[in-house]
């Protein structure tokens, strides 16, 4: 035990001896957290419209007013030239072109159906679909009004209407900050643990100091533990910092138990550091380590459900994700912080993290050869 403590002290000294890194491991995550958490929203705030209104009657104006009243759409340009409208679509200045044909008002007045052409810039498929759904909803509402007006004198119960109300739980205001903070925080602690921990070991190899350790009676597992704990501590400290900042700056709720979150973060970081050490044991240079670590890092981040939902992934990807510690940690963090889920709800995920962590650490210990 004492041996491990000495080794850990050595690691801490080495980290904080580098003035730049000593400051950076605390300052950079804080700055990034504060900057990037408020940035992200996926809600569609405004869809810029370009309108080709060939009709110019009170009916077409009524339609446009109705569309604008929703607050989602903003009419940016009125034009009669189709070329102009499409060049706006090309240059991203408008997201949608609505074409109201000549005779629109007349036909509505007579009770004839009219086609309205809607062209959407669909490179971003999701926002295109979402804005189309919004628009369709608005137009359906208008249709209902017109139909009710027309047959109002007859039987009002003839038309059936289903009202759909929605309620959002756990994040009533759909606050994206409360969604992003756990994600960005998890990325930051992962990156810090991975870079510091991995590079540290490979560097000892490159400089040759690892041979000095190899000739001492330090055991393999002691060495791995000593390489793991300092970075685990630093990452957990960053996590604590991040949570406090989130509380202060973004009023981040914390419904569940803090202890549970730190337990899962510890298991998660053991898994990450286990993988990191495993990679660095088999790398000959920092460069090699870095590219392999980067490969896993990006996969963890982009498949971990931080930015995009894991539920929509294809089945094979979900299978890969069973081995992705980030998925479990993300789910646990959001559940504990926002829903107040307890041990029963997240037990399985914790167990998965534990299994991954132990497997990787054992592999790291076994892979480490004292003989060169």
């Amino acid at each position: 035990m004492r041996t491990v403590l000495y080794l850990i002290r050595k690691e801490f000294k080495q980290i904080f001896r580098d003035v730049f890194l000593g400051k950076a491991i605390i300052a950079i995550p804080i700055v990034q957290l504060l900057i990037f958490v408020p940035a992200v929203t996926l809600e569609i705030k405004r869809v810029n419209l370009c309108i080709i209104d060939r009709d110019m009657t009170s009916y077409s104006r009524g339609l446009l007013e109705g569309i604008q009243a929703s607050g989602v759409f903003r009419i940016k340009q009125l034009t009669l030239a189709e070329d102009e409208a499409y060049s706006l679509l090309n240059s991203n200045k408008s997201d949608m072109v609505i074409h109201i044909p000549l005779g629109f008002g007349k036909d509505i007045g007579r009770g004839n159906p009219v086609k309205i052409m809607v062209s959407v810039n669909a490179i971003n498929a999701m926002s295109a679909q979402l804005s189309w759904v919004y628009l369709n909803g608005i137009i359906s509402g208008m249709n209902m009004d017109i139909a009710l007006e027309n047959i109002g004198s007859l039987l009002p119960t003839n038309l059936k209407q289903v009202d759909v109300t929605h309620r959002i739980w756990y994040n009533e205001m759909l606050n994206y900050k409360h969604f992003m903070l756990p994600g960005i925080l998890t990325i930051l602690i992962t990156v810090i643990g991975m870079i510091l921990g991995g590079i540290n070991l490979v560097k000892e190899k490159e400089i040759g100091t690892i041979e000095q350790i190899n000739v001492t009676p330090i055991k393999k597992h002691q060495f791995i533990i000593a390489k793991m704990l300092p970075f685990l501590a630093i990452s957990l400290m960053d996590l604590a910092f991040g949570l406090v900042l989130g509380r202060i700056f973004f009023k981040m709720p914390f419904v569940g138990s803090i202890g549970l979150l730190f337990l899962s973060a510890t298991l998660f970081l053991i898994a990450i550091l286990g993988l990191t050490l495993l990679i660095s044991i088999y790398s000959h240079s920092q460069q090699q380590f870095l590219f392999v670590a980067f490969f896993f890092l990006i996969i963890f981040i982009l498949m971990g459900g931080i930015f995009t939902p894991t539920d929509s992934m294809p089945l094979w990807a979900k299978r890969i994700n069973l081995f992705n510690p980030m998925v479990y940690q993300m789910r646990i963090t959001r559940m504990v912080m926002l829903k107040g889920s307890g041990l029963i709800d997240i037990g399985k995920d914790l167990l998965a993290l534990l299994t991954i962590g132990i497997t990787l650490s054992v592999l790291a210990v076994r892979g480490y050869r004292k003989a060169v």
């Binding site: 090309n90 189309w132 139909a147 980067f294 559940m335």
Partner: protein, 369 residues
């Protein structure tokens, strides 16, 4: 010139000597494009929901069927009471619960109006919004059809939509260019920043500095081999995304490759700049990853549309190199536009590369004194 060639040859030997890194260098971008092209998606499909049907009549069963056969939703559980809602949402088993109150169908038939509600899990706000919107749209379609069939009412406003540039609404059109921009710049910046700091750390940089090579030569010599490697990577990436994801190249291929090479040069010169301000590899790696990993995902328009962000972020995003590249390649590949629509982005990337290179040369010279 011959000196420079000699130096470049040395760099090539360095790179090819380390076979593992070389494999990783080509392997990473290709695997990642393949993987993320499939995996990164914002769509809803097969999303788990639970249904609490207190009415259990023809209409509510019909609607539940509709929801679950749409392909967007899958019924994971049938709830019996309001108490169950909390349980299933808290355990994260389902993303939303659809509730039909008592006498739902009866209300609809006798009074013409009935209400149902959706309770969605807001921990993923975007997903929650999408789920609510999709369910509402399906229900609206349902009532419209019912009305048309039963009362013969024809709705007058008939919107017809055309999805421009991406008629099949493939998510890949958004994300594959994003992954390209993301992976290319990080790999380029990491490569150069490491190779230079490595020379510093091992002391071989001093040998270079006392040689007759000028600062500019050293930088060019470091950049050229990686430009060549990245060109190969680029071609492979473009080929894979065309082959697998049917990502079109509607514009000029020459222009696309030209702009991509410019972007690669930008990434490499950023890497060199980072190496001139860091003392060792650890610092260089730390700075490269921290300055690229998150800012590029968030501010380049890769996943999140920058236009919707608060104003300050929109402004800050002009500092992110990938933003220009993404706009440019989407314009060229998907919209099929020419130089007229991408000259601003090209200029911005030229400008940024020039600044990084000049700063690096300046930093180099200072070390000589």
């Amino acid at each position: 010139m011959r000196r420079l060639l000699g130096f470049i040859t040395k760099e090539f030997i360095h790179i090819f000597r380390d076979l593992r890194t070389l494999i990783v260098l080509f392997g990473i971008p290709v695997t990642q494009i393949l993987l993320f092209g499939y995996v990164i998606t914002m769509e809803i499909n097969d999303s788990s929901i639970a249904i609490l049907d207190l009415s259990k009549d023809e209409v509510s069963l019909n609607l539940s069927d509709r929801l679950c056969s749409s392909g967007f939703f899958r019924q994971k559980e049938n709830l019996n009471g309001y108490d169950d809602i909390e349980r299933v949402l808290r355990s994260g088993k389902v993303k939303a619960v659809v509730v039909f109150g008592e006498g739902f169908g009866c209300d609809l038939i006798t009074r013409g109006k009935a209400s149902m509600s959706i309770i969605a899990d807001g921990t993923e706000p975007n997903y929650a919004t999408l789920v609510c919107n999709y369910i509402t749209a399906i229900v609206n379609d349902f009532s419209r059809e019912q009305n048309e069939v039963e009362t013969g009412t024809v709705f007058l406003l008939q919107p017809e939509v055309r999805m421009f540039f991406n008629p099949e609404l493939k998510d890949q059109f958004m994300f594959v260019p994003g992954v390209m921009a993301y992976v290319l710049i990080i790999i380029c910046a990491l490569m150069t920043s490491i190779t230079i700091t490595r020379e510093k750390e091992f002391g071989t940089m001093e040998a270079l500095l006392v040689s007759p090579l000028r600062a500019g030569h050293i930088i060019v010599g470091k950049v050229v081999p990686y430009m060549v490697l990245s060109f190969v990577t680029l071609v492979v990436i473009l080929w894979v995304s065309w082959l697998v994801f049917e990502l079109p190249i509607r514009g000029s291929l020459g222009l696309l490759i030209g702009i991509s090479m410019l972007y690669i040069l930008l990434g490499l010169s950023l890497g060199i700049f980072i190496s001139t301000i860091s003392k060792n590899m650890q610092q260089a790696i730390f700075i490269s990853l921290m300055s690229l990993l998150l800012p590029t995902i968030i501010l380049s328009g890769f996943i999140f549309p920058v236009e919707n962000m608060p104003k300050a972020y929109d402004v800050a995003s002009y500092l992110v190199p990938s933003k220009y590249y993404l706009i440019a390649i989407k314009n060229i590949m998907i919209k099929g536009l020419g130089i007229g629509y991408v000259w601003k982005e090209t200029l911005a990337m030229c400008f940024m590369s020039a600044i990084f290179i000049l700063l690096s040369i300046k930093n180099f010279k200072e070390r000589l004194q």
